[in-house]
């Protein structure tokens, strides 16, 4: 077992000559600052927002008041986060800060190690937390503002419910990120799962939405089992679940009472594996991803916030936070597994994304794919790159989702890219188109001007930088896979863009086109008949369903504002790459910008080796070119097949390709059917469980209930036998008495005989 503290010394001696700027040594996690309790409000303000929205619901508020209250609370929370960052983490001192709320759980049944359990409601803020909280609260505020208009057709009970769940979500996420111990993290973990359920199933009258909500929650729970077991084993081994005490123990290998900790396989391999299972469940990776595309049934702001930027990144956060434990294994088995899991998921989701027609779902698969990138980054030992990708992805994916939402909102729920075309050219959709373009460029990793390029690049480069010493098996293969996926990502992203936003303007209204002003809350529909913004140039859409007087409804000021803001932030994130963070106590600076340096100052710092080469050159430099080329190729292909020469919305040159290449149609069909994963799960897991539950139901009904009824039947039978004895007839009683006397006498007689 090599203490992690020794690795930097080892690697620095190797890497200093190779590359400028070795990775910084991890910050000493032993020291802690005490923070002012004011920062508790970062989490408590959204909770207050929840209470206020609840009051709105109780008083049956029918205006947009809950939205403004939510925005206010979240903005205040963001302001506090900013203050926290600027005051405490913007300098050279990056000691983690502890903000104590109240003593929550504390049990002690002995005085030895592992005989007391403490879990307080306290925050452990280090630079990783800071970064996370900044984009969580920031995006939450923006998306709350977006939702204020997006959900405005549902004013009343639905509106209040939405914003209440929204506030609860932000509270849970804050608690998750800022928790100072695993139990509190789990509280937040479950909270975000719950809110995801509540918000996906917002349209609770729609069966698909309800099913999707249940699916999300249940699949999360499968992962939660892993997280719980990991927590138990951590407590058993280390005697604590608090980070502040855990990290020094992991680092030094010595527990609180001075005993050497047994770094068994269970602790170094299985426990991180269980943590990974939890993370994969929450972040929709590998086998547990199928809930995320279905989660698009919820309102689009929900998808933007929860399923793009915050909740699904909780898994990444978990692994980043517990990286010291992952690193305690000299063979890095679990990290390898994480890398491969992420890469495979990325590839897999991208294949589906290339064939799908529902643009929101394509974005969903894209999220799964990009999350795969983040996990791959963690597994490839660039935690900085992974977190940077989280950061940038949050913004551009949110932008993309918001734009899809605008399209859905404006075209009465139409999301099929075969039925929409040339939206950018329609009046009032300029901002949407621009934001979409920015987001798509980021997602595709357009060279140089997009933050997505830089963040993806870091991960790709790291894949090739890993030497054998890093013990990440197949690191280069992962790299090639991710590169291929990058090309596919670019292709399918621009497939969506070119089909929907360019070309001849035409549209068909979606399933909610029959909406009236008095419709029920079940549909995400157009708000009545045209606000006046919605009249486009083409009066009679070609190929559209002749719905009388359907006009697309361009987004209002709130939506436009937020989309624009997100797009600009996505661009501004580029600058983050070039802003260098402060050097840490050792004088090392990080390569990769502010986010990476923040990560490197936290407990999630990793000592990424820099030894590998790509085609004989430095991977970082070459990757700029390589990924740029791949991305551009993807965009060009998309343009060729889906943009150029397209005259209708539902045909494109891609269709001719199907005719040319035999078998491509079946492959495409299979990909469109999500490779039948859902069906396989249904047959393998859901059906047997259903049967099992029926069996248990029968057991419960007949055996358990039967036993209980049988127990109840005995007194009844007894009573039925006894009751005739009380007939009220004197003779019966007399008979009984005489018989009883006779029996007693007989017994006495016989006993006296026997005794004598």
């Amino acid at each position: 077992m090599i203490p992690t503290a020794a690795i930097p010394a080892l690697l620095s001696s190797l890497a200093v000559a190779q590359h400028d700027g070795a990775q910084a040594a991890p910050a000493a996690a032993a020291a802690l600052r005490d923070g002012p309790p004011m920062y508790l409000l970062i989490a408590l303000l959204p909770l207050a927002g929840l209470v206020l929205c609840g009051l709105c619901a109780a008083w049956r508020v029918k205006s947009k008041l809950p939205a403004w209250l939510t925005v206010a609370c979240l903005a205040a929370s963001f302001g506090l986060t900013l203050h926290l960052f600027l005051t405490h983490f913007n300098g050279a001192d990056t000691t983690p800060m502890r903000v104590l709320g109240f003593r929550w759980l504390h049990w002690s049944w002995g005085s030895g190690v592992g005989e007391s359990f403490t879990s307080n409601f306290a925050f452990y803020v280090d630079s990783l937390t800071c970064v996370w909280m900044l984009f969580v609260t920031g995006l939450a505020t923006l998306i709350a503002l977006y939702s204020s208009e997006y959900m405005s057709h549902d004013l009343g009970a639905g509106y209040n419910r939405y914003f209440a769940a929204f506030c609860l979500f932000v509270f849970s996420m804050s608690v998750l990120v800022m928790a100072d111990n695993l139990t509190l993290l789990f509280l937040g973990w479950e909270g975000v799962g719950l809110c995801s359920y509540l918000l996906i199933g917002y349209f609770y009258k729609k069966p698909e939405a309800v099913a999707a909500a249940k699916k999300a929650f249940i699949m999360n729970r499968i992962g939660d089992l892993g997280l719980l077991m990991a927590m138990f084993s951590i407590f058993t081994a280390f005697g604590t679940v608090e980070y502040a005490r855990l990290f020094p123990m992991i680092a030094s290998g010595v527990d609180a009472s001075g005993n050497q900790i047994q770094m068994s396989t269970w602790l170094t391999v299985v426990t991180p594996l269980l943590l990974t299972a939890g993370a994969f469940g929450k972040s929709a990776q590998l086998l547990l991803y199928t809930w995320l595309p279905d989660a698009m049934e919820g309102p689009t702001p929900v998808s933007a916030l929860i399923h793009a930027a915050t909740m699904v990144t909780a898994g990444v956060y978990l692994i980043a936070r517990m990286l010291p434990l992952y690193d305690a294994d000299p063979d890095r088995t679990v990290l390898t597994f994480v890398a491969w899991g992420g890469a495979i998921t990325a590839f897999w989701a991208a294949t589906i994304g290339m064939a799908y027609y529902d643009i929101k779902r394509v974005m969903g698969y894209s999220t799964v794919s990009q999350l795969g990138y983040m996990f791959a980054g963690l597994g490839l030992l660039t935690s900085g790159g992974a977190v940077f990708h989280v950061f940038t992805h949050a913004f551009f994916k949110a932008t993309l989702f918001l734009c899809c939402g605008a399209v859905m909102h404006g075209f009465a729920g139409q999301l099929d890219l075969r039925r929409l075309s040339g939206v950018w050219k329609m009046k009032g959709w300029g901002v949407v188109g621009f934001a979409m373009l920015v987001g798509a460029l980021n997602l595709a990793g357009f060279p140089l001007v997009t933050a997505g390029f830089y963040s993806k690049d870091m991960i790709l480069a790291q894949a090739f930088s890993n030497t054998d010493e890093a013990s990440i098996a197949g690191s280069r293969a992962v790299g090639w896979l991710l590169l291929l996926t990058a090309g596919m990502t670019a292709y399918y992203t621009f497939r969506v863009f070119f089909r929907v936003f360019t070309g001849p303007p035409m549209y068909e209204p979606g399933p909610d086109a029959h909406a009236h002003a008095h419709d029920d809350h079940g549909h995400d529909d157009a708000h009545g008949h045209g606000h006046g913004h919605g009249h486009d140039g083409a009066a009679s859409p070609k190929g559209g369903t002749p719905e009388e007087h359907f006009h697309p409804h361009a987004p209002g000021w709130a939506m436009n504002l937020v989309m624009a803001a997100c797009a600009l932030l996505s661009i501004a994130a580029v600058g983050v790459y070039f802003v260098h963070g402060h050097a840490d106590a050792h004088g090392h600076e990080s390569h990769g910008g502010w986010v990476v340096s923040m990560v490197d100052h936290s407990s999630a710092a990793m000592h990424a080796p820099h030894g590998g080469t790509l085609f004989g050159r430095d991977p970082h430099a070459l990757m700029y070119w390589l990924s740029g080329v791949v991305g551009a190729t993807g965009i060009a292909l998309a343009w060729f097949f889906h943009g150029a020469g397209r005259t209708t919305s539902h045909t494109s040159r891609a269709d001719t390709l199907f005719g040319l290449v035999p078998g491509l149609r079946t492959v495409h069909g299979a990909a469109n059917a999500k490779w039948y994963v859902d069906e396989i799960y249904d047959a393998l897991i859901v059906r047997p469980l259903n049967i099992l539950s029926h069996v248990f139901h029968l057991i419960d009904q007949y055996i358990v209930d039967g036993i209980v009824n049988l127990l109840g039947a005995f007194p009844r039978m007894f009573g039925r036998v006894i009751r005739p004895m009380q007939s009220g007839e004197m003779h019966g009683y007399a008979l009984g008495m005489a018989g009883g006397v006779g029996v007693i006498l007989l017994v006495v007689f016989i006993v006296s005989l026997l005794v004598n």
Binding site: H731, L735, L745
Partner: protein, 391 residues
């Protein structure tokens, strides 16, 4: 049967010495008149004697065997039960006679069986058999006769039979008291009430025999229960009888001292005493009456009537030994009388005229504010309490 008198007290002394070698005065235990084989006068086993099987009062079947063979006994009981069960009244053609005969047979055989073990010298009087069989037969008829009046009459027969048994037991006062009180008073009351409570016969019918009289209720179960009680009772009684302490011998003549006037009268009648003289009875317990003049009259010379009669002895026992109980018995009778009067206070049916008069009287009383006038004869109208049938 050996009569043990006071002169046999020395037989109490055991032939051998006591535990400490000296002679130990035995406690004044009642003397067993019956010298059972193997037992001495105190009932304990003689030294060296082994208790005969079934006679030592300790083994199974002991005691019972002395009186009657257990198997025979229980078989006869079962027979008797069958007989009684058959004899109970039921609808239609009944085997009552057969049942009665069987029961009688069982009873007779039982008496016979009891006599076998007893031996000639321990058999009761022949009159015992007569009275007991009559009594039991009448008792059986009491419970099996469908007509209540006949049952009561058969009961009177039972009473007479048991009076006969009392006579055999030297309780002549009780015998006649029984007849007078039971047969003469109680049963007559029963007959009165039976007559009172019989439903009137309708036109054309001779008499009405209620359904509840003609059919016995659960005859088999009742018979079984009853004979179960009988079996247990008799078995235990028979087993315990030999252990019941023997009757104490009391000197009957000592009581003569309590009736000096009777003694004087009898002696006077026999010319042994002049009028105005009285005998000295101070030594009558030894059997000597001292006449005035010093002449001693030993017992063999006593006149025939100079002994206590049953009534006198009973009277002494009643009044001397149980005075309080007599008082209580009197109170019981008084309460019974009062109770009967209260219970059967009948609502007298007023005729119409009297009713209307009564109503106006009540109305006046109400108007005047008086509490409801109560008729001194207890003829208050209490309509609220009437449940039906006018109690």
């Amino acid at each position: 049967m050996v009569v043990v008198g006071a002169d046999t007290a020395d037989r109490i002394k055991p032939a051998h010495g006591g535990p400490a070698g000296g002679w130990v005065e035995p406690p004044p235990a009642p003397i067993y008149p019956v010298a059972l084989p193997g037992r001495d006068g105190t009932g304990h086993l003689r030294r060296g004697a082994r208790a005969a099987p079934g006679t030592d009062g300790n083994g199974p079947g002991s005691g019972l065997n002395q009186i009657i063979n257990p198997t025979v006994f229980f078989v006869l009981l079962v027979l008797g039960a069958a007989g009684v069960c058959l004899a109970l009244p039921r609808r239609g053609r009944t085997p009552q006679i057969v049942g009665g005969l069987v029961a009688g047979l069982a009873a007779g055989l039982l008496m016979l069986a009891l006599g076998l073990k007893a031996g000639r010298e321990h058999l009761p009087n022949v009159y015992f058999y007569i009275f007991s069989l009559v009594g039991l037969a009448a008792a059986l008829r009491v419970i099996t006769h469908p007509r209540p009046v006949y049952a009561a009459l058969y009961f009177i027969l039972t009473v007479i039979a048991s009076a006969g048994l009392f006579l055999l037991l030297s309780a002549e006062f009780m015998a006649f008291a029984l007849i007078i009180v039971y047969a003469g008073a109680i049963l007559i009351t029963y007959l009165f009430v039976i007559m009172l409570a019989t439903q009137a016969p309708e036109e054309g019918q001779e008499e009405v025999l209620a359904e509840y009289d003609t059919q016995a209720r659960e005859p088999i179960a009742a018979t079984m229960a009853g004979f179960l009680v009988l079996a247990a009772l008799t078995a235990m009684a028979f087993r315990g009888l030999p252990n019941v302490p023997a009757p104490a011998v009391a000197n009957p003549d000592a009581m003569l001292a309590s009736v000096p006037r009777k003694v004087d009268r009898v002696l006077r009648n026999h010319g042994l005493l002049e009028s105005g003289q009285s005998a000295d009875l101070s030594r009558v317990a030894e059997g000597v009456v001292v006449l005035p003049g010093g002449k001693e009259l030993p017992r063999p010379e006593w006149p025939e009537q100079l002994r206590m009669t049953n009534g006198e002895l009973l009277g002494f026992n009643l009044l001397r030994d149980h005075p309080g109980t007599i008082e209580i018995a009197g109170v019981i009778l008084l309460m019974a009388m009062l109770g009967a009067v209260v219970l059967s206070r009948k609502q007298v049916q007023l005729d119409e005229e009297a009713k209307s008069r009564r109503v106006t009287q009540l109305a006046e009383a109400d108007a005047a504010g008086d509490p409801a006038v109560d008729s001194p004869l207890g003829l208050t109208q209490q309509p609220a309490h009437t449940g039906g049938g006018g109690v």
